[in-house]
Subunit: 220 residues, 2 copies
DNA sequence: CGGTAGATTTCGTGA
DNA sequence: TCACGAAGTCTACCG
């Protein structure tokens, strides 16, 4: 990884046109061709960047990063006014990040314990296919009726729309829908209820039995 | 900005739990409290990060970054095994990025020339309010009929859904919809047409008159 | 390669 | 503070 701290101006042309006036920035050139221009503020997003695969030309105070070709070429032009630091580090092998708690895990837990959705449900299959995409969980309830379950980390209006599209397409009589999420937005809940879709908030820790539901609230 | 290249392990707990095994990483500490952990590959996104406001404790090979408090605390724990480099740069003032070509510009241009949408339209107002949000452009056509226009850079199924929601709510008889975008996805076009919504692809450069429509194709 | 859905999305804006 | 919509979204997955 090459790290350059320099006073520079950056021009981007591609999906849009952007100009970054001359100031001191951090330029990051990664081994895979990624180029990032960072400021000393502004959170996690670079001011400008280019994702691999790229071609980098660096000569005489002008660095040009290209991607694609012809009409759809992306181009990042870095005009260096003054270099304050320029170091390269060999960072060796990279090791993958291990995540836990994303939607797929939630789906796994709910697939194992669909009763956590509040009704006595029996899982028929995960990723039930429709012509516009898979339903996360397809179940049947006590009465044998079909229940389509959409799982999100955050339940938004979009999630309700997505589940609604599935329900329109599903060729099963009386199939109802459940939106399950760790948090459900009020307006999503309102829209869901107006469409007869049930909402269930899920606590992943409780689901896993790492922690009991807060029964003290009701035992007193 | 403080830049540290170090062999380290990173643990994140917050919205999810993540572990980054020990390897050489770039640690970036920005003046505004942002902390980013970058690898020598993997594009523009940090492996781990925390956005401001944060509190950073750094002592004896253990860096702890905190955000929020109580049950919703986010915590980033960086366990340093070996420091390869540790430098701090004063980067001075930051200057804002200037962008051009985003949706707002598209809306401005179309507001000025609604006839570019393919029918003789007259603009009634931008950001026409409904109870679920504003319609980008509200126009009337030659017959005096109402036309609601949704503008996107890329026209997706979501854009069609959004416009459909507006059309449902608009209390104007016979109001039809137009989806205008620089590019429209085939499946979005299909969904739009099945709902009687017109699709128009817009070339921003042509719209601005910087470049004429490619008439040579038809003049020969 | 295009399309869809997820993301610790982030980030801005308006109510 | 909340909620919504844009983003050069990026990224993984599936056809």
């Amino acid at each position: 990884m090459r790290l350059v701290v320099a006073r520079c101006e950056v021009l981007y042309t591609g999906r849009l046109t952007a100009r970054l006036p001359e100031a001191v920035r951090l330029l990051m050139f990664k081994a895979d061709g990624s180029v990032l221009v960072h400021d000393d503020a502004g959170g996690y997003r670079p001011l400008n960047w280019m994702t691999p695969p790229t071609m980098v030309e660096d000569e005489d105070g002008l660095i040009v990063v290209r991607k694609g070709a012809g009409k759809s070429e992306d181009r990042l032009e870095i005009r260096i006014a003054e270099v304050l630091s320029d170091v390269t580090h060999d960072m060796g092998e990279s090791v993958a990040l291990q995540k836990d708690g994303v939607e797929r895990h939630l789906q796994e837990e709910l697939a194992a314990r669909p009763d956590a959705l509040g009704a006595k449900l029996r899982l028929v299959r995960r990723e039930w296919p429709t012509d516009i995409g898979p339903v996360d969980l397809m179940c049947r309830d006590e009465s044998g009726d079909w229940v389509a379950v959409e799982i999100k980390r955050v339940g938004t209006i979009d999630a309700v729309e997505q589940l609604s599209r599935y329900l329109e397409r599903i060729e099963l009589d009386g199939c109802r829908g459940i939106l399950a999420a760790q948090a459900i937005k009020p307006q999503a809940r309102t829209l869901a209820e107006s469409r007869g879709i049930d909402c269930v908030e899920i606590d992943l820790a409780v689901l896993r039995g790492q922690r009991e539901p807060d029964l003290t609230l009701f035992s007193a």
